[in-house]
C-alpha cells in the first residue's frame, strides 16, 4: 500500500513538472511598489504640439532632431521611438478631429525587459521608473524582443559601446524632486504626474464625469500586469496604435512555467537516465549470461553426442576387429593346415 502511495506521488510530481503553466504558488501577485509614481496621459487633451518631445530632448541631452520640434508636418508620418528620441507623438484619425497619442516607455510594474535581461541591466525602482545600467549590458537585445510595447531601442551604429536607449521616466530628475521633462513641458495638462494609485482615481473620476468623452477603460491599469504610465482616450485604443490583445498577465508569469521546469528536469533526468542505464546494463548482462549458458549447454550436448558416436564407433570397430581377427586366424589356420592335408593326400595316392 505504502509503495503504491509513493508511486502515485511520484507520478503526480512528474505530471506536475511537465505542465507548462504556473508552478508559482497561487495568488502571488505583485501590485507595484506602494506609493510608486506614474503618469496619466489623456488623449482627449493632447493637441499634438510636440512640446513634450522638445522637453524630453532637452532634459535628456539628446541630439538635435532633423526637423525642429515646432515643425508639425512630421506628425503626418507614423514614427516610433529610437536611440535619439525617447518619446514621440503620433497623429491618428478620430471621428471628427485628429487624435494624438504620446508614446514612451510605459514603466511596467513587472517589466518584460527586466525579466528578460540575463545580466539584470534593467531594474524597476520603488519610485516607479524602469532604469537601465549600461555598464553591464551585453547587447543581446532580448529586452527588445520581450517588450510588448516595442519601446527599448538600440544604438546600432555604435561599433564598440552600443546602448539600449529608452525613456527613464526622468529618474534623475525625480531624485531631485522635479517632474519628468515631458510632464513639465505639456501646456495642456494632457500629462499628469503623481502616485499611481491617485492617478487611477483621477482617471476613474474623469470617465465618470464625462462618460461621453471617454472610452470606459484605463489603459495600463492591468495591461501586462499593469504599467506606471496609463492612458485615457475618447476613441478605441487600437485606433490610436495601442494593442488591446496584450492580456493582463505580466511577463514573469508568462515564463514562470518554463523556468519552474528547470530544476525538475535537472533533478529527474539523471535519475531517469541512470535508471534506464541500469536496466539496459542489467538486460545486456542477463542476455550475456543467457548466451553463455546456451553456448555451454550446446557445447555439453554436442560433446555428449560426440562421445556417444565415438563410443559406438569404437564398439563397432571393436566388433569388426574381432571379426577380422577371427577371419584372419581362421585363414591362418587354414593356411597352416593346407600343406599337411596336401601331404596326406599325396601319401594316400602313393599308398594306392
Amino acid at each position: 500500500m505504502l509503495r503504491r502511495t509513493f508511486l502515485g506521488v511520484l507520478g503526480a510530481t512528474c505530471v506536475g513538472a511537465a505542465l507548462p503553466t504556473g508552478a508559482k504558488a497561487g495568488g502571488k501577485e505583485f501590485k507595484g511598489y506602494p506609493g510608486s509614481k506614474g503618469v496619466l496621459f489623456d488623449a482627449t487633451r493632447c493637441i499634438g504640439c510636440r512640446k513634450c518631445e522638445a522637453a524630453c530632448n532637452k532634459v535628456n541631452n539628446l541630439p538635435e532632431p532633423e526637423k525642429k520640434f515646432d515643425d508639425l508636418s512630421v506628425l503626418d508620418t507614423k514614427r516610433r521611438t529610437d536611440a535619439k528620441t525617447f518619446t514621440v507623438v503620433n497623429k491618428y484619425n478620430g471621428p471628427e478631429n485628429p487624435v494624438f497619442r504620446k508614446s514612451q516607455c510605459n514603466h511596467c510594474l513587472e517589466p518584460a525587459c527586466a525579466s528578460a535581461c540575463f545580466v539584470k541591466a534593467f531594474k524597476k525602482l520603488p519610485n516607479g521608473a524602469v532604469v537601465y545600467d549600461e555598464s553591464v549590458c551585453v547587447g543581446c537585445r532580448y529586452c527588445m524582443v520581450a517588450c510588448p510595447f516595442e519601446i527599448p531601442t538600440y544604438e546600432y551604429d555604435e561599433p564598440l559601446t552600443p546602448r539600449v536607449m529608452k525613456c527613464t521616466m526622468c529618474a534623475p530628475r525625480l531624485a531631485e524632486g522635479k517632474l519628468p521633462g515631458c510632464v513639465e513641458g505639456c501646456p495642456k495638462e494632457a500629462l499628469v504626474f503623481g502616485e499611481r494609485d491617485e492617478l487611477i482615481k483621477i482617471a476613474r473620476q474623469r470617465i465618470r464625469r464625462n462618460p461621453d468623452r471617454y472610452i470606459d477603460h484605463l489603459y495600463g491599469e492591468n495591461e501586462m500586469g499593469g504599467t506606471s504610465w496609463m492612458y485615457l482616450s475618447g476613441v478605441p485604443f487600437n485606433e490610436i496604435g495601442m494593442r488591446e490583445d496584450l492580456g493582463t498577465k505580466s511577463a514573469p508569469e508568462l515564463t514562470a512555467g518554463a523556468l519552474a521546469a528547470v530544476p525538475m528536469v535537472a533533478g529527474l533526468w539523471p535519475v531517469l537516465l541512470g535508471g534506464i542505464y541500469a536496466v539496459t546494463q542489467r538486460n545486456s548482462k542477463v542476455a550475456d549470461e543467457e548466451r553463455k549458458e546456451a553456448v555451454d549447454n550446446a557445447i555439453a550436448r554436442a560433446s555428449a553426442e560426440a562421445e556417444k558416436t565415438l563410443s559406438e564407433a569404437l564398439k563397432k570397430a571393436d566388433v569388426a576387429n574381432k571379426r577380422q581377427i577371427e577371419v584372419e586366424v581362421k585363414k591362418a589356420v587354414e593356411e597352416a593346415l593346407a600343406p599337411k592335408e596336401e601331404q596326406e593326400e599325396n601319401s594316400e595316392k602313393e599308398e594306392s
Partner: protein, 390 residues
C-alpha cells in the same frame, strides 16, 4: 588536371579550397566592417526587429542541428544500443563544432561580445530564459569538448589522460542530456515571453517541449545526413568497422526519427487544440503552418517509416534531408517569419547580403575544421592502438 580525389596529396587549389577561401576572405572583410562601423552597417536589424538570421539561423538552427551529439551518445551509452557506437564520434565532433560556431557567430550579433561571460560570472539574471540558455550552452560546450578529447588524445598518443576521460563517459553523457534538454527547450521558451509578437499558430505555452522534441528529430536526421555527406567525401578515412555499421545506424536512426516526428506532429496538434487555433489554418499564415506540418513533419515521418520497412537507405536519406530543412524552416518561422506578424510589411525584416555572408562564412569555417579534424584524428575509424577498447 583530374587527380582521383582519394589518392595522394591533393593540390592546395582544389575547388573546395578555392570556394572556401573566397568565402572566408569575404567573411573577414564583413567582420572588419561589423566591428568598426557597428551592427547597423552590416545588418537590416532595427528597433522593431532586434533579432535577425544571426539568431534565427546561426543560433536556433545551429543548436538544433547539433543535437545529434546528445541523441547519439544517449542511444549508445544510456540506452545500450551498442550498434550505434561507430556513429558517436562523428556526432560528438559535429555537435562540438556546431556549438563552438554558435558561440563564435554570437560574437557578431552581441553589441559588446567581450561581455558574454558577464551573465554567468558577474551578475546573474536568473529570471531570464536567456540566462538558462547561456549557462547550459557554456556547460554543454565544455562537456562536448571533454567527450571529444579521447579522439584527440589518441591522435596525440596520450594514453593515460585518455583512459581517465573514457571512464567519465557515462557521467558526461547523462550531464549532456540534462543540459541539452534544458537549453534546447529554453530556446523555445525564449519566445514564451512575447505572445503579442509571435503568430498564435506558432506561439504556445508548449514551445519549450516543441523545441526539445524537434531537436531530437533534427539531431538524428543530421547524423544520417552528415554521415551520407561524409561517406562521399571522407570515405578513405573510414575503417571496416565504421562502414559495416553505417547502414545499420541509418536504419536504426530512421526508425527512431519516424517515431519522434510522429510524436512531434501529435503534440503540435494537441497544442493547436489546446489554444483552439484551428480557425487560423485558413489564413495566409495557416498555409505556411500547414506546409511546415504536412511537408516537413508528416511527409518525412512517412518516408522514414516506408524507408525502414523496405530497407530503402536512399529514401531514408531523402527523409533526413527534408527533416533537416524542416527544422530550419520551423526555426525561421518562429524567429523571423511569424515573429512580428502584426507589423506592416514595410516594417518587417529581411536579412541583408552581409548578414547572409556572415552565416555562410560561419558554416564554411565549420566544414573546413571538420575536414581538418576528420582527416587526422580517429573519427571515422578506430585508432589501431585502441581497437575494441570500449
Amino acid at each position: 588536371m583530374s587527380t582521383p580525389a582519394n589518392n595522394g596529396p591533393k593540390s592546395a587549389f582544389s575547388t573546395f579550397n578555392l570556394v572556401a577561401g573566397a568565402i572566408i576572405i569575404v567573411g573577414l572583410i564583413i567582420t572588419v566592417i561589423r566591428f568598426t562601423q557597428g551592427i547597423g552597417s552590416v545588418t537590416n536589424l532595427d528597433n522593431n526587429n532586434p533579432w535577425g538570421i544571426w539568431i534565427g539561423f546561426d543560433l536556433l538552427c545551429g543548436v538544433a542541428l547539433a543535437a545529434g551529439g546528445y541523441t547519439t551518445s544517449a542511444a549508445c551509452y544510456i540506452f545500450g544500443l551498442k550498434r550505434f557506437h561507430s556513429a558517436v564520434r562523428p556526432a560528438i565532433l559535429t555537435a562540438f563544432l556546431g556549438y563552438a560556431l554558435v558561440v563564435f557567430a554570437l560574437q557578431y550579433d552581441l553589441g559588446r561580445p567581450w561581455r558574454l561571460p558577464y551573465p554567468i560570472f558577474y551578475q546573474q539574471g536568473t529570471t531570464s530564459l536567456l540566462f538558462e540558455v547561456g549557462l547550459c550552452v557554456m556547460l554543454y560546450l565544455t562537456v562536448l569538448f571533454i567527450e571529444f578529447t579521447p579522439a584527440m588524445f589518441e591522435w596525440l598518443g596520450w594514453k593515460k589522460v585518455r583512459k581517465v576521460v573514457v571512464k567519465l563517459t557515462l557521467a558526461l553523457t547523462i550531464f549532456g542530456v540534462v543540459l541539452s534538454t534544458l537549453h534546447q527547450s529554453s530556446l523555445g521558451a525564449l519566445y514564451t515571453i512575447a505572445p503579442s509578437k509571435l503568430h498564435p499558430l506558432w506561439y504556445s505555452p508548449y514551445m519549450p517541449l516543441y523545441f526539445f522534441v524537434s531537436s531530437i528529430a533534427a539531431g538524428m536526421s543530421m547524423v544520417i545526413f552528415e554521415g551520407t555527406l561524409s561517406h562521399k567525401k571522407m570515405h578513405h578515412m573510414m575503417d571496416e568497422e565504421y562502414l559495416k555499421h553505417h547502414d545499420g545506424v541509418v536504419l536504426g536512426f530512421g526508425k527512431a526519427t519516424s517515431l519522434v516526428l510522429f510524436g512531434y506532429f501529435f503534440i503540435k496538434m494537441i497544442g493547436l487544440a489546446y489554444d483552439n487555433n484551428w480557425h487560423y489554418l485558413t489564413s495566409g499564415y495557416g498555409l505556411l503552418y500547414m506546409t511546415e506540418m504536412l511537408g516537413f513533419v508528416a511527409l518525412p515521418c512517412f518516408l522514414y517509416a516506408v524507408g525502414v520497412r523496405d530497407k530503402n537507405l536512399g529514401l531514408i536519406k531523402k527523409a533526413a534531408i527534408i527533416t533537416v530543412l524542416g527544422i530550419v524552416f520551423n526555426r525561421f518561422n518562429v524567429s523571423l517569419i511569424a515573429f512580428n506578424y502584426h507589423l506592416p510589411s514595410s516594417e518587417r525584416y529581411f536579412p541583408s547580403m552581409m548578414e547572409i555572408g556572415i552565416s555562410v562564412f560561419v558554416v564554411t569555417i565549420g566544414v573546413v575544421v571538420f575536414r581538418f579534424i576528420t582527416t587526422r584524428m580517429p573519427i571515422f575509424f578506430e585508432h589501431p592502438d585502441y581497437k575494441s577498447d570500449h
